[in-house]
């Protein structure tokens, strides 16, 4: 008889005062992010693509370069003449389209990721310098960026590839250079906003030197817009790579890359629409997914848009 009573008495005492337990920043972020359904959908699609890219050789039903000469331009399964062997059909050389799309995800993600990293790191560094030295160094960096911004980005990328020569690495470099100015500008604007705050003065007072002030004190507070910009330019990098591939300046065939696939199939657009449409659709969906994800990130990271007081 006594044990159940003892139990009921002890249970309310065990929970710690909830108001004193602060939610971890990751949990808070996830709550804000998951409220945006589009962002979650984008994230799930991206997870699928990343999975395909990572495990392409096991996921893809065929070797992407294998030419099935008996099955040229086979339509997808749901069309007349379709074949379960090639779910999304084959292209003009009899290669399995699904396998090529899956393998192409590898290249597109690689191009997106590496060009974002290659432009993010120097961009942030230049932006920090421009914000911290507003007298001579800052304006000269910014004018240089203005010159780069004055040229249409694809034109500039084409020019850079024309100089360096077509190929995967040069494509990445060209896209990275083209997206550099936006990082520099964003970082500089954020740094200039933060520098006027008292905590920066307090850090200087507490004895922080310039490198510590730049990278430890100020930079983490500028990250929110940068993360969003990075996700958004990830998608534009994929688009740019596809555009360069379409123009024949990007990744060279027979490497399966979405833009290159689009370009090599354009002669068959009237006879076999799937050879053109499916890579285009893949590009569209992945860019859309990344953009949705970026929007969700911005809503979750930008304190000005947070609806929680």
């Amino acid at each position: 008889m006594t044990t159940p009573i003892a139990k009921t008495v002890t249970t309310p005492a065990t929970p710690v005062d909830q108001s004193l337990l602060y939610p971890s920043p990751y949990k808070e972020f996830w709550q804000a992010f998951s409220r945006n359904k589009g962002a979650v959908a984008g994230l799930m699609f991206m997870c699928l693509i990343v999975f395909c890219a990572l495990f392409a050789p096991w996921v893809a039903p065929h070797n992407p370069s294998e030419q099935y000469r008996d099955f040229l331009l086979t339509p997808p399964v749901w069309l007349e003449g379709g074949n379960w062997q090639f779910i999304l059909g084959t292209d003009e050389l009899g290669r399995d389209l699904l396998s090529r799309l899956i393998t192409g995800a590898r290249l597109s993600l690689l191009i997106g990721l590496s060009s974002v990293l290659i432009s993010l790191i120097p961009g942030v560094f230049l932006g920090l310098l421009a914000g911290f030295f507003p007298r001579i160094l800052g304006p000269s960096i910014m004018r240089l960026m203005d010159v780069m911004l004055a040229l249409p980005s694809l034109l500039l990328a084409v020019a850079i590839v024309a100089i360096l020569g077509p190929g995967l690495i040069n494509t990445v470099i060209a896209i990275a250079i083209v997206s550099l100015p936006s990082y520099v500008r964003l970082t500089r604007a954020a740094v200039m906003g933060e520098l006027n705050r008292d905590y920066v003065t307090a850090a200087r007072l507490a004895g922080a030197g310039l490198p510590r002030l730049m990278f430890v004190t100020v930079l983490p507070n500028c990250m929110a817009p940068l993360i969003v910009q990075a996700t958004l330019s990830f998608s534009s990098a994929i688009l740019d790579a596809a555009a360069l591939g379409f123009l024949g300046l990007g990744v060279q065939p027979p490497t399966p890359e979405w833009g290159t696939m689009l370009a090599s199939a354009r002669d068959y657009i009237e006879r076999a629409w799937w050879v053109v449409s499916l890579p285009g659709l893949t590009i569209l969906l992945s860019v859309l997914a990344i953009n949705l994800m970026g929007d969700g990130l911005r809503d979750a990271l930008d304190p000005k848009l947070k609806n929680a007081a």
Binding site: P25, D198, A202, L205, A206
Partner: protein, 322 residues
């Protein structure tokens, strides 16, 4: 030998001929003393403190006959040496607690950073000391606050954390730059009381920069009244309030709302502080002073000892010695 000695400090922004923002300021602070600096916005209070700590960036320039703190000549110290003194022996509490803490790091991390830098404490010892500091500034449930981010704290609580950070290095001089301006009235009283208790407990000197004359009357031993970059009167507390010698001090005291009870409007000083282009040739207060004489408009008075205080005026008021 006083803890802090400032002689003829000038701060200008721009070239050497620019109008000084701080103009020939002399100030002494002894160990364990509470000095209040009062004056309206733009009178050079905060800039003086920034200059003292070497935080004036180009195009600002500092000149002084002497600027010494605890035996160090602050003008001659290299950046590295200055960073050893400032932040440890000399610390500051800022006006707006919401921006004085770095939003990206927890409260505990920020306090531990100061402890690591200046006292060489690491790991458990630093965390223990940070906890003690939070308890010292009377933060409830200090243990859990160590892991809180600044946006999770209220204004008063953030200011307490900022104070904890400032006293982490056991400073000999604490500069509080309008520490209560951004807080509501009840919290103001608590924060002031906390600052004064800490000041007594640690026997540190406290420079209190404020607009609030009531706070000055209750807390400070000495007051420096600043106007347009100059100290116009420096005196002991009850005397300066009872018998202000400078017309500006008198006007400042008359502007306290309680003194105008019954009157239709509050007492004010006509005109505005002279700016960059309309600085008068003579006494800086001469265009606004109710007692102005002819020579006030031509010559600048110097800060001279008078009956109760040091006054920058040719015709000081209330000079009869009781």
């Amino acid at each position: 030998m006083s803890l802090l000695q400032i002689k003829n400090l000038n701060v200008r922004f721009g070239d050497a001929n620019a109008v000084p923002v701080v103009d020939g300021l002399d100030l002494n602070v002894n160990e364990g003393e509470v000095l209040a600096i009062v004056g309206e916005s733009g009178s050079g209070k905060s800039v003086t403190m920034m200059a003292l700590m070497g935080l004036i960036d180009a195009p600002g320039r500092i000149t002084a006959d002497a600027l010494s703190f605890d035996g160090n000549d602050m003008l001659k110290l290299s950046g590295r040496q200055r960073r050893k003194v400032v932040g440890k022996d000399m610390a500051m509490v800022f006006q707006d607690p919401m921006t004085a803490l770095n939003p990206s790091y927890t409260v505990g991390f920020q306090i531990e950073e100061v402890l690591r830098q200046h006292l060489g404490l690491r790991g458990k010892a630093a965390r223990q000391r940070a906890l003690e500091l939070l308890k010292k500034v009377e933060i409830p449930a200090a243990e859990s606050r160590l892991d809180a981010y600044p946006h999770q704290l209220s204004g008063g609580m953030s200011q307490r954390v900022a104070i904890a950070m400032a006293i982490a290095g056991e400073p000999k001089l604490l500069i509080a730059d309008e520490p209560t301006t951004a807080l509501d009235v009840t919290i103001q009283a608590q924060i002031m009381e906390l600052l004064l208790n800490l000041q007594k407990e640690q026997n540190m000197a406290l420079i209190l920069i404020t607009h609030d004359l009531a706070v000055v009357a209750e807390t400070a031993k000495r007051v420096c009244v600043m106007y347009a970059g100059q100290a116009v009167e420096v005196g002991q507390v009850p005397e300066l309030f009872d018998l202000p010698a400078h017309p500006y001090s008198e006007a400042l005291l008359a502007a306290i709302p309680e003194h105008s009870e019954g009157a239709e409007r509050l007492a004010t000083l006509p005109g505005i502080v002279p700016g960059r282009y309309d600085r008068p040739e003579g006494c800086l207060l001469s265009p606004r002073c109710p007692y102005v004489q002819d020579n006030c408009r031509r010559q600048r008075p110097s800060l001279d000892p008078q009956a109760h205080s040091q006054v920058r005026c040719f015709y000081p008021l209330n000079q009869e010695v009781a």
